[in-house]
Assembly symmetry: C2
Homo-oligomer: 354 residues x 2
Amino acid sequence: MGEKTVISVDTAGGDKGAAVVLNGLAESARKNPDIAFILHGDEAVLNKLLRRRKALRDVSEVRHAEKVISMDDKPSVVLRRSAGTSMMNALECVAKSEAHVAVSCGNTGALMALSMLKLRKAPGIDRPAIAVLWPSTSAHGYNIVLDVGADVRADDHTMAEFAVMGAEYARLSFDIERPRVGLLNVGSEDNKGRPGIRKSSQLVAEIAPKAGDLEYVGFVEGADIVGDKVDVIVTDGFTGNIALKTAEGTATFISNSLKAAFTKTPLSRIAAFIAFTSLRRLQERIDPRRVNGGVFLGLGGAVVKSHGSADATGVSAAVKLAFRMGKTNFAKKVADRVALLPDGRRSSEVDGDT
Amino acid sequence: MGEKTVISVDTAGGDKGAAVVLNGLAESARKNPDIAFILHGDEAVLNKLLRRRKALRDVSEVRHAEKVISMDDKPSVVLRRSAGTSMMNALECVAKSEAHVAVSCGNTGALMALSMLKLRKAPGIDRPAIAVLWPSTSAHGYNIVLDVGADVRADDHTMAEFAVMGAEYARLSFDIERPRVGLLNVGSEDNKGRPGIRKSSQLVAEIAPKAGDLEYVGFVEGADIVGDKVDVIVTDGFTGNIALKTAEGTATFISNSLKAAFTKTPLSRIAAFIAFTSLRRLQERIDPRRVNGGVFLGLGGAVVKSHGSADATGVSAAVKLAFRMGKTNFAKKVADRVALLPDGRRSSEVDGDT
């Protein structure tokens, strides 16, 4: 793989087509000389698109894929018909160590299912998680929330794994030594929530801080996701997914209301013109495209899921994240941390090692 | 009680003190001649505050309460020490039919615990719920989400009760005949989510539409809370509470970012000045004070919980809602609807009645 960090890209599957994906990659290629791409998709289309993007063409290799996984394909169907798809081929490059990390804008459920198939769970990992960066009032501007993707519940030990994996992602993203981690609940008092969540919290407090080199602060509330109380918010995939989509919906709703308010009257349109810079500053602050890239944690290789509706800026943000993950051998770091967790379910051998 | 709708108000317990609460009541008294209040709190304080508020004084009766329940009191402690508190006295007036409805800005957990004690669950209700109005893109401007308050999970039949109670609240609030109701999940496809939630959805689809005169549309996602797909979103109290607090946090975060963007430079401050009307229009659209008032559904009497940090506008909004509930005998309507649900857990007598 030489000295460059190689990113294997599934160019299909996004809502906006391959041209938008390649615009994003071209932006990354211009900014970062240490990056190289393997592009998976329709060869004819990709070669044509590369003709007008010289900087990208110089660092890219095209690999033809016959098939594409659509946004509507169910994971069960995907697993049977994945051979030869651009998504599967993109992951295969990571499995064969031809690339350091894979990026896809495609179907999240399918990407997770195929990642588990091709890259396997990392040793000692019970359940992989999808983590996202969330705009917040913290000094580094974002918090990490996981798991936001899965459709099943997580048990107590899984929560401890999430805490450790999330903390490692926080170290990568925020450059902090000892991330603060909280467990999402309906109140921050110890007596709040279901009995199950209190048991989870006790186990996380007991085993996660040492293995994950993290500070466990206990329960946090929904509002803390955008606050400065913790760097990492741990929750089960069901609750996390609903919180994420509710917050995205709320942000879009307010953003649209803002636009409506500023186009209602001639005077408001003048105000919008003058306020253009201020409004853009706000847009950048809360823009989901800039934090684009859900990260799959706990696999035998690094995978970044870009938003299906990402534009070039969003794709480029996902590539930037993938580059850092590839360059630092992030997937292995995460697995090494989780291996330090004592685990009654498997064996307690590692218990004395920590 | 005469022809006026009597509202029993716990004037203590809010974050901003009794004066702010009375300002809100005064606003309601000015606007609505069909309203009367019974005020619970420190007699000396209340009488002094009423001196400067003639319109309110003319329609109010003061009842002295020795004690106050604080925001930090745990529900278990509250239950033992509730006698003589302004909250308990406010609820007692409803239990004794001296008032049509109770309003409090106090501790939500305590208010629910005391409401269950004093007003009891309505016949046939398994678990009461807290429902809120949520700003949305729908024609009526809001959706209803329930349950947002409880700390325990709800079973399948409880979800059906929530659907029926939420639909009745939608009829009261939005003046629509047949509310559309959805169940919150991680995807809208039938195959998404945990097995448990699919079973819930099947039962809701089977028994709720007829009893509740509602249209059940199946699963909805977090983003649909602010959308126009349904009027009522049903979820368990744990998920609902986290979604609510995440959305409130997101809205506050964006609102603060907006302020920061508009005060950063001299030019941005000029823009803010010109854009004042537009910004205020937005503020009003997303202002949680205007939709202030969580409603307790499924009790033997009507109770409205106003936000602890509500200002006069917020209190007045909660009173307006309480007025409508008192005037229409809302609590009984809800109970009558739920009684139409067939229930395998208790008896199936009502099964043939529907």
